[in-house]
């Protein structure tokens, strides 16, 4: 008798934990739509008349194709903002990319320079730090090698810095090659919810893991905190955490016209590697413990949850069906079994809202979303969840083994075919 009571209590406890995770996911994913006012509040603030900042844009590259780099650079040089420079950041062990970078720099000598990182361990933060030492302008921005910035982005970011007295501005990134693979649709939507909603929810809570792309930081501040952590796989998240802890003003802004467009990893293997890296990065940031310096207990709790939620979420997708299965065939009392089903409510609601978001994604980026895409979205969900869980598990194993090597995502330029030809053509600044 006591054993069965204990087992029931365990099932209820697990179900409630899963319910809390699923509810938290639902809350974060739909935060932007909670209230029509949230949409206005999270948008850009409109253009100021004069330019207040100058930009140094770092473009970290590794094993990149020339056309991909050229498209990214064109979008940066084509910015309407007048005071900008681009630093292509490469590693010395990657001669082909170094060569391409130099060739591009020669084409635009006034605007583009190349920073070659010579450190032994190769990773993104080290390349960024090397490039940072060459930056001359007041605000440093990071653009991944395969990202296409919107034309007016810098001008808007400038206005946000000026009107909001911000230290950091996080712009939005959107994956767009949603038709390419079974997982790319899910992946695109994930970015959509992340930048449209989740980041704003985190921002509201006062603890924000920054993204690594389309992020703008005052150079002085960046120098003050000694740049990015050269040993951290999620250097972007880590920087956000450190700046949150210092109480710096971080602004997140979203507008569909101003998102930076990117591609999804081109193979499932690459997706798993990317996810593993992110998960591992979050684990590293968690273990580093900078978040423990937050002033209040509540803030620390929020930070704890923010850093852990991703892993929980990855596992929850797998655990919920298992828990239900166990509850149904475990001979538990009816109430216990029903409680085991409870996490399904927020989980299925999240999927239902995903459908609305996919519609909005299509509307914002002028893609025609067909019923087949909606179907793919729903059918792909459990499989995608498995991929996330697998990656999180892989990250956990690597974390335990202290294996922090950089598994970089390759870029094939798939996103370029989704853009209007004008964007990808070379532009004279």
């Amino acid at each position: 008798m006591p054993v069965s009571v204990l087992a029931s209590a365990l099932v209820v406890l697990i179900a409630l934990a899963l319910f809390a995770i699923a509810l938290s996911t639902l809350y974060l994913n739909t935060y932007a739509w909670w209230d029509p006012k949230t949409q206005i509040r999270t948008s850009y603030s409109g253009l100021q008349e004069s330019e207040a900042c100058s930009f140094s844009l770092i473009m970290p590259c590794r094993n990149e194709r020339e056309d991909v780099m050229r498209a990214t650079l064109s979008a940066l040089l084509g910015q309407t903002h007048s005071r900008k420079e681009v630093i292509i950041s490469v590693g010395h062990d990657d001669p082909e990319t170094v060569q391409t970078a130099h060739a591009l720099a020669r084409e635009y000598p006034d605007f583009v320079r190349v920073s070659v990182d010579v450190s032994e361990t190769k990773n993104k933060p080290r390349q960024l730090n090397k490039a940072l030492s060459m930056c001359r302008n007041s605000v440093v921005g990071v653009f991944d090698a395969e990202s296409i910035a919107a034309k007016e982005l810098l001008a808007h970011i400038d206005s946000v810095f000026a009107t909001k007295n911000a230290d950091v501005v996080q712009g939005a990134v959107q994956l767009i090659n949603y038709r390419d693979t079974w997982y790319s649709l899910r992946n695109c939507l994930e970015y959509f919810t992340w930048f449209r909603s989740r980041l704003h929810a985190h921002s509201r809570q006062g603890f924000i893991p920054l993204g690594g792309n389309t992020v703008f930081i005052k150079r002085e501040l960046l120098d003050e905190v000694r740049g990015w952590d050269g040993n951290c796989l999620a250097e972007d998240c880590d920087l956000g955490v450190r700046l949150s802890t210092l109480g710096r003003k971080i602004i997140v802004a979203y507008s569909p016209e101003l998102v930076t467009r990117e591609e999804t990893p081109d193979t499932l293997k690459a997706l798993v590697r990317q996810r593993t890296r992110w998960s591992l990065g979050f684990m590293q940031v968690f273990a580093k413990g900078d978040w423990k310096n937050l002033p209040t207990r509540k803030m620390r709790a929020i930070a704890w949850w923010t850093l852990m939620q991703q892993h929980f979420m990855a596992f929850a997708g797998v655990c919920i069906p298992v828990a239900i299965f166990a509850a149904v065939w475990g001979g538990f009392p009816l109430v216990v079994t029903l409680v085991a089903f409870l996490p399904l409510v927020p989980t299925l609601a999240t999927i239902a809202f995903d459908i609305c978001m996919l519609q909005e994604f299509g509307r914002d980026h002028k893609f025609t979303i067909t019923w087949y895409d909606y179907l793919r979205l729903i059918v792909g969900t459990p499989l995608y969840q498995l991929v996330l869980a697998f990656s999180a598990l892989r990250a956990l194993i690597k974390f335990i083994r202290r294996d922090f090597g950089w598994e970089k995502t390759d870029h094939s330029g798939a996103h370029l075919s989704y853009l209007e030809p004008a964007v990808t053509a070379a532009v004279r600044p």
Binding site: P36, I251, V345
Partner: protein, 538 residues
Amino acid sequence: MAVAELEPSVIERKTSGSPQHRGPGPDAPFSLTQLSFWDRVTLCLLTAMAAVLSLWNLTGAPSYQDDEGTYTAQAFAVHSGSLAPYTYWYDHPPLGWIQIAAINWLPTLLGLGDGTAIGATRYVIAAYFVASAVLLYMVARRMKVRVPFAALTTVIFILSPLSLVLGRQIYLDNIGVPWLLLAFYLALSSRDALWHHVCAGICFAVAVLSKETLAIFGPALLIALMYRPRWSNRSFSVVGFLTVGGLILAFYPLSALLRNELFSGQGHVSLQDALTYQFLERSGSGTIFEAGSSRAELLAGWLYFDKYLIAAGLAAAVLCLLRKQSRVLTVAIFSFAIPIIVGQGYLPAMYIIGVIPFLALALGTGVDIAWSWLEKLGGARPDLTRRLRAVFVAVLCSALVLMSVPQWFEQDRDLLTAENNANWRQTLSWVQDNISREDVVLAPYSMWYDLNSSGWNDSWTMIATEKPDLDKQFETAHPDGWQEIDWIIVGPSVSANIDSLGLSRAASALSHSTPVRTFGEWTIRRVEVPVPPRTNER
């Protein structure tokens, strides 16, 4: 904190408007966090009024009904981990009495209800009645009805004898109605907030799981949600409302499925059987146009309690078509009326409970619409404004007096002063004092729980009248059938129930019984088993 979101000047401009007013302006959407002075005062007065009228003489009138006893017994059964003292056969979704079970310990603890369980449970229902009254005011205000007319709506709801008689009894509809009203209140969110609309879905699901007939308001609620000025998150709201509401409703069939009782089968009850019974097999109530049919009688009964509310409410429902916001009331009332007018199936007497707040709301809104006309008329002829207003108020007051004095006053006074349960109470004490706890007793459900818990503590020794015929377990407990019954307690509804439900075992026991003690319409009868003729088979 350092991290902030962008707050464009759009919002600032909006909120900084009309600095000369403190508190919300007259056109501001009704919100509990920003109540105006008059809203506050009115809400307090209405709450007090609803509380007094629902609590006063609560155990004296109306008389206890079998259904009330059923839900009382089922609520107490929840405390011991089951959904009913007998086999739960999916007659209704159980959330209604699960809610009663969650709070019925409180009146018992406070010693309310004359020491009876059914009396104490009525106090739980009183809380729901007060909640309904308050929510009705809130919904009226959200529908932009002016304070006095919103108050009028609620006063009608509280004072109408039809509402008050049914609202003081332990019916599942009374549990569901405040959830339904809350769903409407949230669906009409002043901020168009997604989570309000998701909560509206949850509340509606709770309402339907409390009493399934309230599902008839589903279309009206969906219209209330969608039929408003367009807002950016509408698709999210509708999807959230439908999905979350639907998922919570799904827990009912799910629980049936997990007990292997979703579909009909040999040797067990099932949700399918229950639905077939309630909608198809249960002896119908006839059509409303057939004189003497039970449907016509039921309607006559409702009209007897308050023909004014029903007639004026229906007329006002038509008037509500004239204002965009209130058209949903027309839809609610007429969709509710469809099964009454068109249907021939079984119609329960408490069905009307669900629509009473909407009838009152239609009346209040109708008056509000008329007042708006008057204002418009007065705008054209400012010299007449005062006189028009005076005439309007005079006409409204005299209509109310004409409506209320002859019928309402008398019936409400009865409710607040009559002692209708004296015989019930005496019967209860007599049985408790004089019948052995070993004897098998057949008792009406209105008394069953209070008797059983006074020492029998066995649902097959103290048996509810219907159960020997309707619950298969009787045969296991009493293989010799009705002959094992020692006593039968006959209340006002027993004979009618035996007829309508075809209770042959109870009928046999009754026909072989002789009265021992009578209290008014209640009789305690001893069952005399005829000595079986000697058989010489051995």
